[in-house]
Subunit: 314 residues, 4 copies
């Protein structure tokens, strides 16, 4: 009930806030490290919010589609946990924020054993992806895509093959990380197979409403809002929320926790998936990134919402 | 009301849980880097819980007194924020977890500018301490001690002068950090003055009930439970809770967030201050530390409590 | 003339010195990171010395054959210099010792641009190998092998295909380095092609006399002792000698310069190529390695020789 | 005899070469980290060469006086070796180049034990200085100054007290290094005492002819050219030459070895001491430094000399 009233308030405020936040996009840069990403228009900004009672509100460029990139790491972690349990997953990847760049190799060399510090940096996400089983790389990728479709409630979700190809062609730093992990016994798989699966799940194309729906499942503690059935064990949702809070926004996660205070995960495409536990699933996109790699306008918009409606967990 | 029932349950379960967790102390080691600390008995374990309705429960070695050590950093941060505001404080210290040891110099050299990553690592805490003003080192230390007394509701709180002296005599790594910060312009103060203030607030002697009372103020969003008055702005309590969650337990903070899920801060003396926001302030002590520097038995006990009563923020 | 007298002295002393140095082999370990290498007998020790007047002396296990490993890096550097000149080569690789392990990635990430610090660490040697041209990987490998045969005066020099295969199958850390360099634009080649060429030249099988003959060409400033013709420009021999002196013995190069004082390059197979400029070419093998990766007995034997006959450059 | 002819050639060429090299000074910057140093005129360039037969040649600004800075480290190492022998000295400091900046703390934290990598980086030089004994800091400093006077054949050599004071007031990074070493047990002394001695020997004021005379003693293998007596054991001269070659020019030592090929040590004041073993002692000064901290014009001038007269050791 209270939720419904708040949603009405959001509806009335959001269009203007989107326009205000959009002005900040000029401060950021669209990611250029994958050639395909560089084509996104800089001043795009869209947001979609779903509440647990079935309501929703959209504002800005909600028809804009983009690839999930690092946002997918939250859900591949969940798949790996559902397949293997905590002990197996955390034997391959740690639980700690790093303070380093998402593609850094420093701690792999400096801290023995060479286990990636957490599942949301690239090294950790590659290690987690390698745990997701199947008879072939194709089958393993399919399993991931099917799960993403289920979470988004959208059977048409698919890869952006141009981005996938672009990333596969130029992803040499990820190859370097993967071979390092292979050398250290963290990754037992064929490296190119794992990278293919990894590049594919990063290249799943979504809109803000897809992200909001995926977030809503987390906001509901793992319950599918369409069927009321649990599709993710609550414990794994909890683990995902911790990682989103401590390292979901690259090495600006601490700042985001202070200024927004919500579990969230950003991607280099400018997307952000965030949740207000028990209440909302949120999808945002704004391709212009700040120096830490997060959407300038998107972070600003979430800060306004969280501040106004006191959503912070803290 | 629900709180009261839960407190009764805790009362009945806690004594046995303390004995169970105490068994784990043999896995840990009492800190030896400050000679005075090494004298603590390894199998000590005490806990004190205060609820927001005025109830409380104690178990184990609650008369054991120990120094606050790093736990004091939460409150010197709050004093600095109250004196200077967010902008000034965060120009000297960052908001991000590091993944490095609490006394590491790596990021100071590797990441420009050489601003400590957060206020809970030693470099950051020293930078924060230097912001706390006063006409003399003595006056600055007094101000801190008075605030700690107010929070603990205990006018007799004072320094353990043996620990203070021991730390002052052997704290060369902290001297090294402080001179590094001085060189980089983060610290403008006289280095030995700042270190004296820093070593003093680390050496304030408390028991579990003192910690629980200090925690209770945070659990109440900054309200003094005796007077009902706000003694810390809610926003600064929020900031403190974020840092306690993302980097309060050294580089096991991520693991603690997953397994316990409460804002907490540990000290090398074996103390842990933790809060259940809106509900409880908790003080724990168990001097035997694990490899990451946290109380083995204390963490285990908090994990049982949080698991049983579903206290996790996540 | 003086040389001839000295060579006679060496002949009389060497057999006993070899036996004395051989005793030290128990302090070392045979390299295990390439499975094939682990098969070498630990107490093997051989040495072959050629003088510029055509004389020679051998002692110990001179029929033992082993792979060149890192020793080959000296000569691929020379080939690259002969093909492209100093400016081109040193745009891809630096001139400085690192103090890090031979396979470290730290400085690649920490020091911009990500140019390997020198041509004798793995990253640098891979970058140098990529500069050696040809119509196909096979042709590029052949060119290297032919040059090695010319230097050794031995047309039968060839790959140890078991070692090559073993290294190719397990060389994931080198793959990681190569993809890192590819990402940074240091390496423009196909990574697997370069690695194939690299693994092959590391796997060229030699005996001590082959190494001594290769060293003799360097000792003669680039002159082929058989024909009297210059086969390496003197300037490139000079550059090779500098790198052998400052970083030829991994991160024990400084210690070797102090205790032996000769340009030298060691390999993980236990081989060492060393020169007394203008006078001797020396090949040594002793598979038991110290912690820094150099032959325990081989280093000891060179130290005795250099000390007794005052060969140090310094 | 040959030496005499060469010296005549140098005399005729040097004035023009000095003017040519002086043009390069605009590419460099005078060191600013010590306020006093920043006052040096940028286009100063002087050189003084002494040969082992008693001849000498000077060109450029040879009356310009400057502080020895890091050049002094070569001679404090020699004093420590003469007092304690190799084993004691190398238990406190290593023998390896680092590739890091001269004031870096990285390897102290990353490589156990925290022994400075070599005696020519700041951490290592401070450790070496602490080994030089005496009843008081004053006496220890006097001993060093007396030795410098003996080497320079100049009884008036003294401290530049302005530079000493400036360095003492602002040398917080050296304080940080020293306290780090104190914490790790490398330095057992009182930190401020050691730093006082260190800052003093860095602040000894010389001209090019002083440096040339000091260098000449090394070129003679430790023989005092005035008395013909050995004042430094040959073995310690050898050790000094190795360090000058592998790490005398900061992290451009490898490049200098390739392009010049002489043992040398530079200082942040723009001085360079270099030797042609058995033949010349050389003192150079040019305060405009390149990015690696070496005199732009001075290095260029040495490169011309070494190239023309084939002085390279390699």
């Amino acid at each position: 009930m209270a939720n419904t009233i708040e949603l009405e308030q959001i509806k009335s405020l959001l269009p203007q806030w989107v326009e205000e936040s959009r002005q900040l996009a000029v401060q950021g840069k669209v990611a250029a490290y994958i050639p395909e990403l560089a084509k996104s228009p800089r001043d795009t900004l869209g947001i979609y919010i779903m509440d647990t009672a079935g309501g929703s509100v959209a504002a800005g460029d909600c028809s804009f589609s983009f690839t999930m990139q690092s946002i997918s790491k939250v859900f591949t972690l969940i798949i790996a946990l559902m397949e293997h349990g905590e002990a197996a997953v955390f034997s391959k990847v740690g639980m700690e924020p790093t303070g380093d760049n998402f593609n850094s190799m420093l701690k792999l060399e400096l801290v023995a054993p060479s286990r990636p510090f957490n599942p949301l940096i690239n090294a950790g996400a590659i290690a987690v992806t390698s745990l997701i089983g199947g008879d072939s790389p194709h089958e393993r990728s399919s399993k991931i895509l099917q799960f993403f479709r289920l979470l988004a409630g959208n059977d048409t979700l698919d890869y952006d093959l141009d981005v996938y190809q672009s990333e596969s062609d130029t992803g040499h730093l990820n190859r370097s990380l993967a071979y390092y992990l292979k050398d250290k016994g963290i990754l037992n798989d064929n490296v190119e197979d794992v990278l293919d699966i990894y590049f594919r799940h990063c290249a799943v194309k979504v809109t803000c409403s897809d992200l909001a729906r995926m977030a809503l499942v987390l906001a509901l503690g793992g319950i599918d809002p369409s069927t009321g059935k649990s599709i993710i064990p609550r414990r794994y949702v909890q683990i995902a929320k911790v990682f989103m809070t401590t390292c979901g926004m690259y090495n600006a996660s601490g700042e985001f926790a202070i200024n927004v205070g919500l579990p969230a995960k950003s991607g280099v495409s400018g997307g952000i998936l965030s949740i207000v536990p028990g209440r909302y699933g949120i999808g945002v996109v704004g391709p212009a990134l700040n120096k830490k790699g997060n959407s300038v306008a998107g972070v600003n918009l979430l800060e306004k919402l969280s501040g106004e409606f006191e959503w912070s967990l803290f």
